[in-house]
């Protein structure tokens, strides 16, 4: 059987989640590998969630937030940007391809963009293959 990537997405309520809804309203097809968890702000996404998602078997983690300057909570997306950047560098040092973690700014009107980036991301993860991180069961 071919490899089907498992992807967890954290989408902020005000922009990216609404953008994903917009993709639906516009009936834009995209692969179903990614499942969204709605959070109020992308700033809610603790890097711990990202690492745990990988440890629990995610092949990729996607974070969607408001465009810079548009954060409903003013600066949450900037903090996300920094956390993701640091996370990517940590993943790289751990020997994990940082492309498995993707941050995208998606506004409430960007259904097109949402569908496009999900397609791209699923394809990218498919190319990368299964994540090696999944934690073995504890002793």
């Amino acid at each position: 059987m071919s490899f089907e990537p498992k992807i967890v997405a954290f989408l902020c309520n005000w922009c990216a989640y609404a953008g994903a809804d917009m993709a639906g309203t516009s009936r834009l097809k995209y692969p179903g590998n990614m499942i969204a968890i709605r959070v109020m702000c992308s700033g809610r996404v603790d890097p711990e969630f990202i690492l745990e998602a990988f440890e629990k078997g995610a092949d990729g983690v996607f974070i969607g937030g408001c465009h810079p300057g548009d954060c409903h909570y003013v600066s949450g997306n900037y903090r996300t940007r920094r956390r993701v950047e640091m996370m990517k560098r940590l993943l790289e040092e751990m020997g994990i391809n940082p492309r498995r973690l993707r941050l995208e700014w998606v506004s409430a009107t960007e259904g097109q963009k949402f569908a496009r980036v999900v397609k791209e991301f699923v394809e990218e993860i498919r190319q990368l293959g299964p994540s090696p991180i999944k934690k073995e069961e504890a002793i």
Binding site: K6, G24, R27, K29, G32, D46, E48, A58, R83
Partner: protein, 645 residues
Amino acid sequence: MAKRIGIFVCHCGINIAGVVDVERVAKEMASYPGVAFSTTYQYMCSEPGQNLIRQKIEEENLDAVVIAACSPSMHEETFRNVCGEYFNPHMCEMANIREQCSWVHDSEEATEKAFKVLKATVEKLRGNEDLEPIFVPVEKRCLVIGGGIAGIQAALDIADAGHEVILVEKEPSIGGRMAQLSETFPTLDCSQCILTPKMVAVARHPNIKLMAYSEVIDISGYVGNFNVKILKKPRYVDEDKCTVCGDCEDVCPAIVPNEFDMSKKARKAIYIPFPQAVPSTYTIDREACLGLAPLACAQCKEACEADAINYDMQPEIVEEKVGAIIVATGYDLYDKERLVEYGYGEDDDIITSLEFERMLSASGPTGGKIIKPSTGEEPKKVVFIQCAGSRDRKHMPYCSSICCMYTAKHAMLYKHAVHDGEAYIFYIDIRATGKDYEEFIARVMEEERINYIRGKVAKIYREGDKIVVWGVDTLTGKKVEIKADMVVLAMAVIGREETRDIAKLLKVAVGEGNFLKESHPKLKPVEALSRGIYFAGCAQGPKDIPATVAQASAAASKVLAMFSRDKLEKDPMVAVVDEEHCSGCGICISVCPYGAMQRQPNGKAKCIEALCEGCGTCAAACPSNNIEMKNYSDSQIKRMVEVVI
């Protein structure tokens, strides 16, 4: 106690059911841990659909419900209202299987995803707790900081609506910058003539407590409940007794420059900044007075028949409790000495726009006569330079917004006074976007024969009794050299330095140019990030009088909307600090955009629920995992992650 969760899967006609195998989803989810009941229906949001939910909640004794249907942005409120009839509305969650599922995926994929989305929603719901709205009491009094036109307008609006206002002004009189202006564009109304009635109205208003010559020194508390400390500086003159006869001023031997006239005119140590000052009283300038300490001169006291002078007056700290605060601290001009290329500070005949404004004023240092400061002669050739310090990366990058208009006015008023004079204006662009502004500029250009030169001035220097202005006309590409009698610089508008101090007390952000940072540049232009704090006038950004007045009224209306209720209601999805385990590291306090995280006397952080907007960035940042978001806890999110993989 374990919840009895009911699942209601909506067909949404064929929108969902045409793609997702809703029957299979409902059937299989019925055996998911915690799920007591599961069913489907054609249209859950319809009246019969809602009734089905009601009926099953009763029959099946459900205490939590998941509706698998459209996006929560569509109907979350609808279903929470239905469930709210039986239990806490936060025990109802929606699983989005339409917008992010049936509408975007093929059948098999969509059904699989629907399972995962539903499971995640059940997991979240399992961790939810009952939440009640948070109510915050409101002290229906407002503090207005700054007594310029912005503060005056806001104070009057709120006071007229029946609420008490404390208006604090640090200068001896209210009136601010507008009181200094001559005539106002584009209608050329006399500035003082339209302002002074408002100043008097403030003084007379029973709901306004005017505290001029006072400064806010401490602010604590939060929306609805601020505690403010105001320092009342001693005037050494009893406001109530002073009749403004002027006898004291006549005898006072100490002479200093008058700030109100941009120091271009002298005043005495005992003075009234301008005749129409409000409150109408003299003030002794402590620094300049010879008599205060040691008591060497008491001529004013002897001259005062009303016995209003009291050298023993002490500073006084007044404490007030208010529910809202409007910051209207106004503007200043960019420091002229920093414009070295325009030679300020070295030449009396190169003046700033505000100095020229005072010169134009009938009550100004020259009695309204336009003179060349170095000689007192009438200047025959005047160069006006716009964007002096504005739109300049070396200085202030922004547009000061008012200079195009007042420079046109200045040139026009100059031509009216000096008929044979020549006026030149150097400009980058003309920005005349207000109502009737473009027409005003056109009139100035066409009727007044002003020479508009598009270009920047590179250098200004003195040559004998002339000032040589070097520039380039970018429309012709030619170098321009003008030998002028006087140069007027349209200096960049910056927020007052004191705004930074106030902002620090209020814990609100200040950006470039000392301007206060609003909550949202488009949708919340008068609100601070912290609730209960509003901005008006140039403290927030450069703007002209109509915009200032509009913003002041907008801020007042925000305050009035708040005061229209006895208690503020807010969403209970807030952060909670586990104080026992908090180390007081201060990370959350540093990241909270709303100032909701505050350090307590014991060093630990506490979330002021009234200020928290529930974004959760503090919870993600806390290195001790000591902050939980209500109904969006770490454990809930982690469980959701687990089941979607």
